[in-house]
Amino acid sequence: MDKNATRYSVQLYIYDLSRGMARSLSPIMLGKQLDGIWHTAIVAYGDEFFFGGEGISSCPPGGTMLGPPDTVVELGETEVSEEIFMDYLSSLGESTYRGDRYRLFEHNCNTFTNEVAQFLTGRPIPSYITDLPSEVLSTPFGQILRPILDSIHIAPPGGNVINGGRNI
């Protein structure tokens, strides 16, 4: 195994979309404790990548309207070069991660981040993030809100859509 390959570090930026409200209100509303409504993005090669209602977008790290992340997790290092990664992203953006494929519960930003993290490092993202939708849906309140929530597309402004996948 050669150690000459350039390695790029990969990080996970975690944002709490509720700005702390989930932590305080969730026991009342949902009956269980949720520490946050997590939105995640992968940061690598000096850019942040995330999946939203518009498709795969990128921006400078911490450059969306959400501001700086609440938590940063080091996912490790990857040998994958930026070129290959962009190829990979554009293929993803044409298939399973087009803008119109966004589903708040089943196929959201965290799904994307998880997949990309596994691609780049072989390791998934922390499970408390990916478990969030099922946690919410297992409460009666979540079930009630589901039709409304299903139609929400989270697309933090400030990013540029990769691949120009037009949903028109």
Partner: protein
């Protein structure tokens, strides 16, 4: 004789592995058996962004062998394959076990395509963006070095997004470029078809060589209001020309000699050069009239909506013009004659002739509808009802009739939905369907004159709705052209009514308006019964939402949804208003 105890599973003592091998054997049929025909076969999932496959390979195979198998399965060349496992790129010289690839694990695959550099550049240029619009334009496919290809790509982008066109026009860089007549001339002349045209018609090259004219054209292109004004003036001038004895013939000559070949060339290759129509058409000005114009000339000093002579000259008066208004022009690159289309009063002779033209020339409709420009315009209208209503307001037709405006505004979402319906699209492109519609028109007209009281009781049918859709569409087209989209003016608005000679025209027109209002109402009602789905199906998701909110009376929900055309909020208000609580 001692048997050598090797870790070779094929003769393992346990026997289980032998079975394994046996079972794995059928799977080896499509497997690239490693040269050393030993080693456990493991099943590795190979995952691309688009799909995944399970590949059986020997445990100690090399990456090269693995890639051979993969290239066969995924139908890609081996050197296009990039394998990634646990964040590491698998190099050809490595072996699978070196990387720890075992049975049941997933390896990622990226199949390299040619256009890599562009994306990286795009990414970085965007983060440092200095050029605004142009930067994103550049990133959208700058990979090809070929300028022509680039032009085509740009063209495609433009066509698919009409807003981009106006954005581009406003971009100072583009404006600079356009204000440089030499550059424009070069661009135009670079187009081979244009060159052909120029050879045939030396006047064109004179025109191109006249910098003053070019500059004026550039100014026009940039400033849609000015363009509209100029078109109007030219129209008026031309119509005056017609009245001079022999003038009509002169016009006709002008048209056939110069404009026709130019426009047909421009139209053919509009796909590759966005500026061709721009440069060419200012020369002989606006559209000439086509066939004999027997009607009295419209009054150029009359109310603005009736002073739209030549561009719609032929068709407003019911003549069957051969070209059917398909001349492209500066303002109207696809050559749709809005006057001929837009003469919306349904039972008017103009409409009849239009339908006739359509049925004679299905190509016209096809062109119109299939222009990607058109489709995206329709869909962007559908998504943006404010825009659509703005567009409507600008239509001079509505100027005097706020009631109509209101009605239209209410019907707008339904109408737009209808337009999106691919069935209505296909009906419009089908000449026989159009003919049938025309017959319906005539029938309706007769009916209206014979039994005016009958109309409101007309039961809505699917065809009827499509008919309405088509008429309303024609109605909307000129308003789209005049009001909504910058840079694409018609030749001076759309006439409300025909400059018909009959003295009863005033009365007829009021009747026509009434008829239209009724049709609209029916359209609203028919919109539910029309199209291919029943309202229950169409409003299924809305019904579900209402159910979830607690409105359990399905009938009432459905009624409310039908009445509001699927608008949940309005439906809820209706439901709440009707309930005593």
């Amino acid at each position: 004789m001692t048997r050598k105890l090797t870790p070779n599973p094929s003769c393992s003592i346990g026997g289980v592995k032998m079975a394994d091998q046996g079972v794995a054997d059928p799977g080896n049929n499509n497997n690239n058996k490693p040269e050393t025909s030993e080693g456990t076969i493991i099943k590795v999932t190979v995952k691309t962004p688009k799909d995944k496959e399970e590949i059986a390979i020997a445990e100690d195979a090399s990456v090269t062998q693995f890639k051979e198998e993969i290239s066969r399965r995924f139908k890609a060349k081996q050197d296009q394959l990039v394998l990634i496992f646990a964040g590491k790129i698998l190099k050809d010289g490595d072996s699978l076990s070196q990387h720890g690839i075992k049975d049941g694990l997933t390896v990622h695959l990226v199949i390299k395509t040619a256009h890599n550099p562009s994306l990286c550049n795009y990414l970085h240029s965007n983060t440092t963006s200095g050029f605004g619009d142009l930067a994103s334009l550049a990133g959208l496919g700058m990979g090809s070095a070929n300028f022509m290809e680039l032009q085509q790509q740009m063209q495609r982008q433009l066509m698919s997004n009409p807003e981009m066109l106006s954005q581009i026009m406003e971009n100072p860089l583009v404006q600079n470029m356009m204000s440089n007549p030499d550059l424009m001339r070069q661009m135009i002349m670079a187009n081979p078809q244009m060159q052909q045209l120029m050879e045939r018609n030396p006047e064109i090259s004179h025109m191109l060589n006249n910098p003053e004219l070019m500059r004026q054209t550039m100014e026009l292109a940039r400033n849609p209001a000015m363009m509209q004004e100029m078109m109007r003036n030219q129209d008026r001038a031309l119509s005056n020309l017609e009245s001079i004895p022999g003038g009509y013939n002169a016009l006709r000559r002008m048209y056939t000699d110069i404009q026709e070949p130019m426009f047909s060339a421009a139209r053919e290759q509009f796909g590759s050069n966005p500026f061709s129509a721009l440069g060419g058409s200012s020369e002989s000005g606006a559209q000439p009239s086509r066939t004999e114009n027997r009607e009295p000339l419209p009054n150029p000093w009359g109310p603005p909506n009736s002073s739209n002579p030549s561009e719609s000259g032929g068709s407003t008066t019911g003549s069957t013009s051969t070209t059917g208004g398909s001349n492209p022009s500066v303002s109207n690159p696809l050559g749709i004659n809005p006057g001929s289309l837009g003469n919306g009063m349904f039972s008017s002779p103009g409409m009849q002739s239009l339908l006739q033209q359509i049925s004679e020339n299905p190509q016209l409709m096809q062109n119109m509808l299939s222009a990607p420009y058109m489709r995206s315009m329709m869909s962007s209208l559908a998504q943006n009802p404010e825009l659509a209503s703005q567009v409507l307001m600008n239509n001079p037709l509505f100027a005097g009739n706020p009631q109509l405006q209101e009605q239209f505004r209410a019907q707008l979402p339904i109408f737009l939905q209808q337009m999106q319906n691919p069935e209505s699209m296909s009906v419009m492109t089908n000449p026989r369907a159009m003919q049938a519609l025309m017959q319906i028109q005539q029938g309706l007209q007769t009916l209206q004159t014979e039994a005016p009281g009958l109309m409101p009781r007309y039961a809505p049918t699917g065809r009827y709705t499509l008919d309405n859709g088509f008429q309303l569409f024609c109605f909307f087209w000129p308003s789209l052209m005049t009001g909504g989209i910058p840079g694409i003016p018609t030749g001076g608005g759309m006439p409300v009514e025909n400059p018909a000679p009959s003295p009863s025209s005033a009365a007829t027109n009021t009747a026509q308006q009434q008829l239209m209002q009724q049709m609209l109402q029916m359209f609203a009602g028919g919109g539910a019964g029309g199209s291919t789905q029943t309202p229950e199906v169409r409003f299924q998701s809305q019904l579900d939402q209402l159910n979830a909110m607690g409105f359990i009376n399905r009938e009432a929900n459905l009624q409310a949804l039908i009445a509001t055309g699927g608008d949940i909020n309005a439906a809820i208000e209706r439901l709440l208003g009707s309930q005593p609580s």
